[in-house]
């Protein structure tokens, strides 16, 4: 069973529907009691950093997510759910979960359209198991105005949009992606399948 954190952000249904399409059962995590039923936790999200974080704080989901990760359980953060792992964001000048070192800042190149919206390539820097059968420089779908600045050691894949920014990070049981695998067609579904199968955890 895959748990998807339900909070005040857009388009959680797409993540649910993608996971179900892959033949897995999904449970929405709105409160803390169901966490013992699941094997994998996903923090999805498109939306505003500060308001998303505020919601996690008020509902105490913040501490539960932290505990889950500290226990070494598999975790995937998508887009905003990925950005929330870090220490701070410029979007609403707000502290994040602080599980990983780094900050979230806005694309500032005046010659670029912001949001960074559409299909862009992910250059694979480290061939982790979750990239199985996925070619280097494959296209994934992005929709964001802010990007993560973090230690090189965490970065598994990067994407070019004026600058190179981290589009995939991983540390032990944590994977974070800036793109939307649930909206990245066949490749995105394959990426999710690889993650849920869990070879990368061994």
């Amino acid at each position: 069973m895959v748990g998807i954190v339900k909070y005040n952000v857009g388009n959680i249904y797409s993540v649910i529907s993608a996971i179900r399409y892959l033949g897995k059962e999904v449970i929405l995590i709105e409160n803390l009691r169901v966490l013992n039923k699941i094997k994998f936790l996903i923090l999805p999200g498109v939306g505003h950093f500060a308001s998303g974080m505020k919601y996690l704080e008020e509902t105490d989901l913040r501490n539960e997510i932290k505990k889950w990760i500290e226990k070494g359980m598999p975790f995937l953060g998508i887009c905003l759910g990925f950005q929330l792992l870090f220490e701070w964001s410029e979007e609403g000048n707000k502290e994040g979960l602080g599980i990983l070192k780094g900050k979230v800042i806005k694309f500032k190149d005046k010659n670029l359209k912001v949001p960074h919206m559409g299909w862009n390539r992910v250059k694979i820097l480290k061939r982790e198991n979750f990239f199985e059968n996925i070619q280097d420089n494959s296209y994934f779908y992005f929709a964001h105005s802010y990007y993560v600045k973090t230690n090189k050691s965490l970065i598994i894949g990067e994407t070019e949009y004026g600058i190179n920014f981290p589009s995939v990070i991983s540390k032990e049981n944590i994977v974070g992606v800036q793109f939307h695998p649930e909206k990245s067609g066949k490749i995105g579904l394959l990426f999710l399948k690889n993650l849920l199968e869990g070879k990368w955890l061994q």
Partner: protein, 254 residues
């Protein structure tokens, strides 16, 4: 760099895909879910559903269709037509739509852009602007499926919706829509250069060269297509092969 997006637009009325010439003279062309799956397989980068009758008839948008689409289509899709409240936006997004496209209501109540962007993020608020040329370098915003003039200048309105938090502009030339004579390049270029958010060009494509012009001269980030695709005059594969041969970055079809 981010690839130029090719976006089929499915105009929907009473659950069926239709396409009108200059917003009139509707023709039936199939089921929305089947159409969406087809285009997804063919290599569409996104899909737009526009409920073209919604605003006029006060009909509410098609949440059930959205849900069915989201169950089988794993590329982004936008829903527009008749969206007038934050609740309308929430209903569509929570049932699987990635973005909403707001047109008439954005003009009548610009606050919906601001509130929508604050609540759900700019990336899911598309403002659709239907422009009609009224003078040299001057276009007027029309609402209610292109029927009602507003007195608003398209360029000024585009800047304003960006300030209010829109994440994208879906720009349609009323003069060109359905004519297959090519996009209004001047209009596309003016809007695209006036804002920092992506502009989707729509209305008037008739051949491959038109798409190239909209991207290179019009500086559009994406291309919206309807009848050209629906009636198989061109396929997405042909379009992408052509653009690629011209040095434009496109996503390979799966």
């Amino acid at each position: 760099m981010v690839a130029v997006r090719i976006i089929p637009c499915l105009d929907v009325k009473n659950g069926k895909v239709v396409k009108g010439v200059q917003f009139e003279n509707l023709r039936i062309a199939g089921d929305p879910v089947e159409n969406a799956s087809y285009y997804c397989k063919e290599g569409a980068d996104e899909i737009v559903f526009l409920d073209i009758s919604a605003t006029i008839e006060g009909r509410k948008t098609m949440v059930e269709v959205v849900k069915k689409v989201a169950d089988v289509v794993f590329i982004p899709f936008t829903v527009g037509g008749g969206i007038s409240t934050i609740k309308d936006i929430e209903d569509l997004l929570s049932n699987g739509a990635d973005k909403v496209s707001i047109n008439t209501s954005a003009v009548r109540n610009p606050k919906i852009i601001e509130e929508g962007a604050k609540r759900f993020g700019s990336q899911c608020i598309v403002v659709a602007i239907d422009g009609k040329k009224i003078d040299k370098d001057k276009w007027e915003v029309y609402i209610e499926s292109g029927k009602t003039p507003t007195g608003l200048d398209v360029i000024e309105w585009a800047k304003k919706v960006e300030d209010l938090g829109a994440g994208e502009i879906l720009l349609t030339s009323i003069d060109r829509d359905g004519t297959q004579e090519g996009y209004d390049i001047e209009l596309t270029k003016k809007v695209s250069e006036s804002v920092n958010i992506p502009v989707i060009a729509s209305g008037g494509a008739g051949k491959l060269e038109h798409l190239y012009e909209a991207i290179v001269e019009g500086k559009a980030s994406a291309i919206l297509l309807a009848s050209l695709l629906h009636f198989r005059i061109l396929t997405i594969q042909e379009i992408k092969n052509y653009l690629k041969s011209k040095g434009i970055e496109v996503r390979k079809s799966e």
